[in-house]
């Protein structure tokens, strides 16, 4: 097993940097390191919380246009009827009480040369280092016919700030028994790799109780997906023929949609009509990051593996879903660990010190049914300019056949519980509630 270790020099440097922070006399407000964070999701809010706790002398500003943040995680449980949207919506008041300067405004431009962020309200916010956690935009038109207007009739439910999950929820509730719920799923990379498959599960969970003659038809642009064997075992076990997943090799790739007809057409010309059509379209880094020149031709933002500093624009760190950080998934949990490392690296670089060695961590739980949870774990490090997963670690929950029936039930029950615990812990920490 690879065990990269912190070097003595790295340890001393990091220590000295932190000691210097604490010892620095506060001559004037200008002398304080100015850390500005754009985007108040899992990456940005976690960064702000961490920066506030770990660097008491830094000036920490969080810029987020919305006053309330609805999480993507657990949105699928709203579809299942297991959570309300209020239960997955948070504010920034507690972060502000902890000393984070929270600014609710739109970022209209980033001036990397002048180290300034311009806001819609007209103000400029200077920074020593900028951390961007901008999230994603949807590629309208990448699936022919799928425009912003079309998304009202065929909801994506993938970016809560663009469209609350309740739009899709309402359509699901109004769907007649016997209807087909169609979901289209994009190729990699996209936000939350297990998310569509948890959604299939949660929709089926609802349909099984409320509309048992209905069906979920998932049309996928890929042949494989996250936690695939576990999801497929779970669907077979819990929902039987109610769930049908079609991969790319079986003509699952959807090329165009017709919102008026509520139909989708695949690569080889099959047209499927649904009672509800949930289009999860291809994605890219959010506009604010692309406009700042942080994205490459792929639409995503290349970064340095040890610091998450942009490979294209110095002084700006890009974390979370917008960054190119494979083999790490685009998940909320891993974004929070990007954020902590980016903050620590930014502070070290402001002070001319060596950034600490990173360790990035992810666990994604998915709900498949009642008392039925599964997970994937990954621990990642920087190796030169690449991210690498620590060999012989992480991976998915055990398959059914590797466990006794009793142990299997317990494993699935515990992981469903742990998912709830994870959600509560991470949201409480990132929004400063605990």
């Amino acid at each position: 097993m690879a065990h990269p270790r912190i070097t003595r020099r790295g340890a001393l440097a990091a220590g000295a940097a932190f000691a210097a922070t604490l010892a620095a006399p506060r001559v004037s407000a200008q002398a304080r390191a100015r850390l500005v964070i754009v985007g108040g999701g899992f990456g940005g809010a976690s960064s702000a919380r961490f920066a506030r706790d770990a660097f008491p002398d830094a000036e920490v500003t969080l810029i987020e246009r919305s006053r309330r943040f609805t999480t993507c995680p657990y949105g699928n449980l709203v579809l299942a009827g297991m959570r309300s949207i209020e239960q997955i919506t948070f504010g920034y008041e507690a972060l502000a009480r902890r000393g984070v300067r929270v600014v609710h405004d739109e970022v209209t431009a980033v001036d990397a040369a002048g180290r300034t962020v311009r806001l819609g309200g007209g103000a400029s916010v200077p920074y020593d280092r900028l951390i961007m956690s901008p999230g994603i935009d949807l590629r309208w038109g990448a699936v022919e016919g799928y425009t912003a207007e079309a998304s009202a009739r065929m909801p994506h439910g993938w970016v809560p700030s663009l469209q609350p999950i309740t739009v899709l929820e309402r359509q699901l509730r109004e769907m007649p028994d016997g209807g087909v719920f169609i979901m289209t799923i994009p190729a990699n990379p996209f936000r939350c790799p297990p998310g569509p498959y948890e959604r299939i599960s949660m929709v089926a969970h609802y349909l099984k109780q409320a509309k048992p003659r209905s069906k979920v038809l998932a049309l996928d642009a890929k042949d494989g997906f996250s936690k695939q064997p576990l999801f497929m075992d779970g669907w077979r076990e819990l929902y039987g023929p109610m769930v049908e997943w079609v991969g790319a090799s079986n003509d699952g790739r959807v090329m165009s949609v017709d919102p008026a007809a509520l139909s989708v057409t695949t690569e080889f010309g099959q047209t499927h009509r649904g009672a509800v059509v949930n289009v999860i379209p291809p994605q890219m880094a959010a506009k604010v990051a692309r406009d700042a020149g942080l994205a490459d031709q792929s639409g995503w933002c290349p970064v340095k593996a040890g610091t998450f500093e942009s490979a294209l624009v110095p002084g700006i760190h890009v974390i979370g879903d917008a960054s190119i950080a494979a083999p790490m998934p685009k998940s909320g949990f891993v974004a929070s660990t990007h954020g902590r490392q980016a903050v620590a690296a930014a502070m070290a670089l402001i002070r001319g010190q060596a950034p600490p060695d990173p360790v990035y961590f992810n666990t994604c739980y998915s709900h498949v049914g009642t008392n039925y949870g599964i997970s994937i774990v990954g621990i990642f490090r920087a190796e030169g300019d690449r991210f690498v997963e620590v060999p012989n670690s992480g991976g998915i929950s055990p398959r059914n056949e590797t466990m006794t029936p009793e142990r299997r039930a317990e494993q699935r029950r515990l992981e469903a519980l742990y998912a709830d615990g994870w959600y509560e812990s991470i949201t409480r920490e990132m929004f400063g509630l605990a």
């Binding site: 990269p4 340890a11 220590g15 770990a54 620590a344 360790v359 666990t363 992981e415 615990g421 409480r428």
Partner: protein, 120 residues
Amino acid sequence: MRARTKPGTLRGCVTAGGVVAAMLFGVAGEAASQGTAQATSGDALRVALVTGGCTGCHGATGEGGHGIPSIAHTKSQAEFIAVMKAFRDNQGSPTVMNRISRGYTDEELVVMAVRFARPN
């Protein structure tokens, strides 16, 4: 050991960080439980970074919840490290911790123990 501050806070980690300081500078071996070396503030930062994955599930203070066990000073440092190592070999009926513990170095397990375990 100097007088400890409130368990679970970063300040508490700085105090307990003597163990880590001793580790990093080669004074003591793993699970050194009576570290008396002067902790530096850099240790606190390293503790916070290495344990960033732990708090995502176990909470900022390690208190757990929804079936996730509390790790807030429920074990001595030596016990904490022993349990984490046993998880690597699937001992103790692990659900996710076997997959997690294999991703961290022995030294990082000590760093985690500094934050979450009792000094003795």
